[in-house]
């Protein structure tokens, strides 16, 4: 009786089970090895590598225009923001001014991406905790947001809309009207979200006080995004290191001090409203002009190191490019938010019940391809 070379029952009487890699509640191929004492979790150990595609190594043989598309496959729910991070990093090396129109389009698309990502998360959180109906309500609005993406970018998830210097092509003539319609629809549905899940007694009992993460631990584990902001750590890259003109937009950084699953839930619910607020400010003020700055056909970055961070729907994504002056990067490293957030999972889950593990995983909002890359 052995399991990965170890006994199922340890000498202290702890029971070892595997959750995943094919478990529906792990949202992908996450493999968690869990040590249990009865129903209490003693230790959680994530096993990675099931969906490793060597995107970083692959990018070393691609040109600066070509490597961007692969980042859509990392955190596929915030694909546009990943592309934006890469484009910004290349622009930093080239020292290209992005036209204001392209900047506004990028912000609008990024916030729409954040909105759709949080909507999917909201539905899946309900699903993980046993409520099936929210999933359908979430996908109803998400579908409308993805239709905007499909109309302007040509794809629903893996858009590849950002290119060094701006965006690939101009927005669709229908874009503004469609966004306004969708925003109106979404705003009227926020109350429904709260009615069906936020105020539900079963949901509250399963999330309040579960998976506590102190602010100190959030910082030491390197958590970012809503996971850290649920513990009261101010870490919004859009506020601290504004990019693409986020400094001109008004929005609030959402902070909750609870540190439990419910606090992280409330952060994301409020972030959706902030995204809508940002879109409302910009949708009528898209400046005229070019949607793309002129760049050379073959992009060559000067010798050096370039780093750019952005706020994806899950936290801080960092793109680090080392260039030796050639047409393709010498080395690329992505600092992905999910990898750091996952590292805090063991700490959060230790001492809670096995059923709470799913609630904790749901509110960290893990996307496994981003963990492995």
């Amino acid at each position: 009786m052995s399991l990965l070379g170890e006994d199922i029952m340890t000498e202290e009487g702890e029971f070892v089970i595997n959750i995943g890699p094919q478990h529906p509640s792990t949202h992908g191929v996450l493999h968690l090895k869990v040590w249990l004492d009865g129903e209490m979790i003693k230790k959680v150990q994530p096993h990675l590598g099931y969906i490793h595609r060597s995107i970083e190594k692959m990018s070393e043989s691609l040109s600066y225009r070509n490597f961007i598309y692969a980042t859509s496959r990392m955190d596929y729910l915030s694909a546009h923001i990943n592309n934006q991070a890469c484009a910004l990093c290349v622009e930093k090396g080239l020292q290209v001014e992005v036209p204001p129109r392209a900047q506004i389009i990028r912000i609008l698309m990024a916030e729409l991406t954040r909105l759709s990502s949080h909507q999917l998360w909201w539905g899946c959180t309900g699903l993980d905790l046993g409520a099936v109906t929210p999933f359908f309500y979430a996908f109803r609005e998400r579908e409308a947001v993805l239709a905007i993406m499909e109309e302007s970018c040509g794809a629903r998830l893996t858009q590849n809309y950002c290119v060094p210097g701006g965006v690939m092509y101009d927005i669709h003539p229908n874009f503004q009207n469609r966004v306004k319609d969708v925003i109106k629809q979404i705003k009227s549905k926020f109350q429904e979200y709260d009615d069906i899940l936020s105020g539900n007694v079963i949901f509250e009992q399963r999330t309040k006080g579960v998976g506590y993460l102190s602010p100190e631990d959030a910082v030491s584990f390197g958590c970012t995004g809503p996971t850290a902001r649920g513990s009261g750590v101010s870490c919004d890259v859009r506020k601290w290191f504004p990019y693409d003109g986020y400094e001109k937009v008004q929005f609030k950084e959402i902070l909750e001090t609870g540190g439990d699953c419910y606090a992280r839930y409330m952060v994301r619910m409020a972030e959706m409203k902030q995204s809508v607020y940002i879109i409302e400010q910009l949708i009528d003020h898209i400046p005229e002009g070019d949607f793309q700055a002129k760049t050379k056909a073959v992009i060559k970055l000067p010798k050096g190191e370039f780093y750019q961070r952005v706020e994806t729907a899950r936290g801080e994504l960092g793109v680090y490019i080392v260039s030796d002056g050639a047409a393709s990067p010498y080395r690329i490293k992505y600092r992905s938010p999910n990898f750091s957030n996952l590292s805090a999972l063991g700490h959060m889950a230790t001492g809670s019940k096995i059923g709470d593990l799913v609630a904790i995983m749901a509110t960290i909002d893990l996307v496994i391809p981003d963990v492995d890359r």
């Binding site: 225009r65 109309e151 302007s152 040509g154 690939m168 069906i196």
Partner: protein, 158 residues
Amino acid sequence: MFLKEYFGTIFRSVRSLLKGMKLTGYYFTHPKEIHTEEYPDNRATLQMFDRFKGEVVMPHDDNNEHRCTGCQACEIACPNGTIKIITKQELQPDGKKKKAIDTFVYHLELCTMCNLCVVACPSDAIVMAQTFEHSVYDKKQLKKVLNKPGSKIMEGVE
């Protein structure tokens, strides 16, 4: 005091459940607000967005002429090696030889629909089509030749 709190909790809990049930009940009694798309029954009327990236195609006009000069810009722009262009030397009427495409091979199974080839093309020879039902039984069927047999390059395209 304890009893008041006890029954208060029960009351609040039941109310929160009823609030949720009211919402689901509303949609149950209003089937017109339910959003579903009846694919594949609506195949005949289904209209994709004009920018939707389904697959790369090479448009030909009525005279079986395309716009591809065989410059291989798309082949260089492709990150996955999806496109392979085999060129040939074609004899012009005035006796000069000119580069032209023999076969434009497109591997749909490798394509990620990133649109970089279409953007890179200097003569607008390839575009994205809105088809999306690509499933076949044999992988070989996904290897496509985009230029039609016997096709020529259009007059005036350099």
